[in-house]
């Protein structure tokens, strides 16, 4: 079987001859490591947009000073600005990072509502279809669907999981909710309408594997149940009725507390699930909570490579066993890949770790 046949079998609920091994393409730069892994049977998951967003009444100014780029959005209800630091060295996120969000104080909420309300989505799947053609049998292409409005309020406030100044931005996000609850609720409402527009565009697109938000574990299950779960219960059935496969990126290390809620989302795939020792939800427990029909795309954290290839091989073999039905399991790396590897010793460790995972799953050398 080619990788594509293998992953297609999983997506169609059939059983491939081996558990597919798949990584996000941006985590493994093109080179001999990636090529060698691909020749052994690894597949890549590439993410491409299928819709684009137009703002008819918002103008954008970009100014650069030193290594800081400031983007100003002129909306009918006022200006919003966001600062980005460039040239960060070998770090994730293309070596740059947002320093703050568009919404810094309650005074910014009105302009944010105006901008969100102005967003119109158009289908343009050319990047997606080109990539499907180019990757051929070596991978699959997924794309972003609508996002939970509550998560997007966090991003507007500057908070994204893994970002560099997360402490400041998550604090800012919390204070916004507390300081201006009425305007914050209005922003949520505007975002819900925006995501409904995006949903219709995604449904009309050829995208099959739709990525719907994430769980990073920071806000807690009760807040997630109240603020985020309704989005999935509203959105997933519409996408599934249109023949789409819905995936939730759940990389939280404290996922056990969310396990029952994930079961209520109705998603077809839980992606980036990271079992112990890094995370706290075992695959056996995940299967017990979510049933055999949900596809599990398991993340093997690169931090485990430090324990050596033999340990990694045994670990992945145990995962493949615990993951249950072979037809509903994908194993790979969804975290950092080789990002930040700059010395020969670490490079060698990573190389051995990746190959040990393929050894564990029975891919020939």
């Amino acid at each position: 079987m080619t990788f594509h046949e293998r992953i297609q079998a999983v997506l169609d609920g059939e059983t491939p001859e081996r558990v597919p091994f798949m990584c996000y393409d941006n985590l493994l730069p093109r080179g001999d490591l990636e090529l060698g892994l691909r020749q052994r049977g690894m597949g890549l998951c590439l993410r491409r947009p299928v819709v684009w967003c137009e703002y008819s009444h918002v103008n954008v100014d970009v100014q650069a000073a030193g290594d800081i780029t400031t983007i100003t959005y002129h909306t009918p209800a006022g200006d919003l600005t966001n600062r980005r630091r460039n040239h960060m060295g070998s770090l994730p996120d293309d070596a740059s990072c947002d320093l703050d969000g568009l919404v810094k104080t309650p005074d910014d909420l009105k302009a944010a509502i105006a901008m969100v309300s102005d967003a119109v989505f158009h289908v343009d799947a050319s990047a997606y279809t080109d990539t499907v053609f180019e990757i051929g049998a070596d991978g699959i292409v997924s794309g972003e669907g609508p996002q939970p409005p509550y998560d997007t309020t966090g991003e507007l406030a500057g908070y994204r999981p893994g970002m560099l100044n997360a402490h400041q931005t998550i604090t800012n996000w919390l204070y916004l909710q507390e300081a201006s609850p009425v305007q914050f609720a209005a922003l949520l409402e505007a975002l819900a309408a925006q995501e409904e527009r995006r949903l219709q565009a995604v449904i009309a697109s050829p995208l099959r594997l739709v990525s719907l938000g994430r769980i990073d574990g920071q806000i807690g299950p009760e807040r997630w149940r109240q603020q985020v779960l309704p989005f999935y219960q509203r959105t997933v059935p519409q996408l599934q009725a249109a023949g789409k496969i819905c995936s939730l990126h759940a990389h939280a290390s404290n996922l056990a507390a969310y396990a029952d809620l994930i079961g209520k989302t109705g998603v077809d795939m839980v992606e980036a699930i990271t079992p112990p020792p890094r995370g706290d939800l075992s695959l056996g427990e995940a299967r017990r909570r979510w049933g055999d029909k949900v596809m599990l795309w398991v993340n093997v954290s690169e931090s485990l490579f430090w324990h050596g290839p033999d340990w990694v091989k045994s670990y992945v073999q145990a995962l493949a066993f615990a993951g249950g039905p072979q037809g509903r399991l994908i194993i790979g790396c969804t975290e950092l890949g080789t990002v930040g590897v700059v010395d020969d010793e670490t490079e060698s460790l990573y190389r051995q770790g990746y190959h040990a995972m393929l050894d564990a799953l029975g891919y020939p050398r």
Partner: protein, 211 residues
């Protein structure tokens, strides 16, 4: 409800205004600053930590509780200084060299400070020598290392080695934590302790200093 009970509850609820008002009123009524700190604020943050560890509180609740405590502590500080009440110890924290992520390190700083220690926060991208030199110069008992990126974990080992070279290993303890870090890794590099989360880090500081 006594002033201390009001402050305790106010911190658990994250109610900054209640904590600030009750602290001011308690001082005006003659309640000793040390009593407010040791019988209300520190126990409240310990309870916040406990709730965090058992997954009843999450990052939002922890941050809001810490903000409430800080509001009271700012009012309390001049009295604490005047009465000669000192922190229980000093802890140097930072995110290791090559890593610029701050949230885990900041949560640890909040919880350790909330447990009554002075925290010297070196920020992010901290070189091994900077931890060691600062800890020695400031008379700190514990160094806390945080990492989010797997590839920066060797800097933890380098810091442990730098401390050994300084001759202060054993006198100054090293604790490590962060998403990719495990107890196994801590054992392998010779760190004195590993904490899975911020609340665990605060308890670990107590253990390391008293061991």
């Amino acid at each position: 409800m006594s002033f201390n009970e009001t402050i305790y509850e106010g911190i658990l609820e994250g109610n900054m205004k209640v904590v600030a008002t009750a602290t001011t009123d308690a001082l005006a009524a003659g309640v000793a600053a040390g009593s407010i700190l040791n019988e209300a604020m520190i126990p409240a943050m310990a309870e916040v930590g406990r709730l965090f560890e058992i997954n009843e509180y999450y990052v939002p609740e922890l941050l809001i509780a810490a903000r409430a405590m800080k509001a009271g502590l700012e009012i309390l500080k001049p009295q604490l200084v005047a009465t000669g009440i000192e922190p229980k110890g000093k802890v140097v924290v930072g995110t290791v060299k090559g890593d610029l992520h701050d949230i885990g390190k900041n949560l640890v700083a909040i919880m350790v400070e909330g447990a009554g220690y002075e925290v010297i926060d070196l920020g992010v991208d901290v070189a091994p020598e900077a931890y060691v030199n600062t800890a020695i110069a400031q008379g700190a008992q514990v160094i806390g290392l945080s990492a989010l990126l797997t590839t920066t974990m060797p800097s933890m080992k380098a810091t442990v080695e730098a401390l050994q070279e300084s001759g202060m290993a054993g006198k100054i303890k090293v604790m490590i934590g962060g998403a990719p870090v495990t107890q196994k890794y801590a054992d392998e590099i010779g760190a004195d302790g590993y904490a899975r989360d911020a609340a665990g880090a605060a308890r670990l500081v107590e253990q390391l200093i008293n061991s």
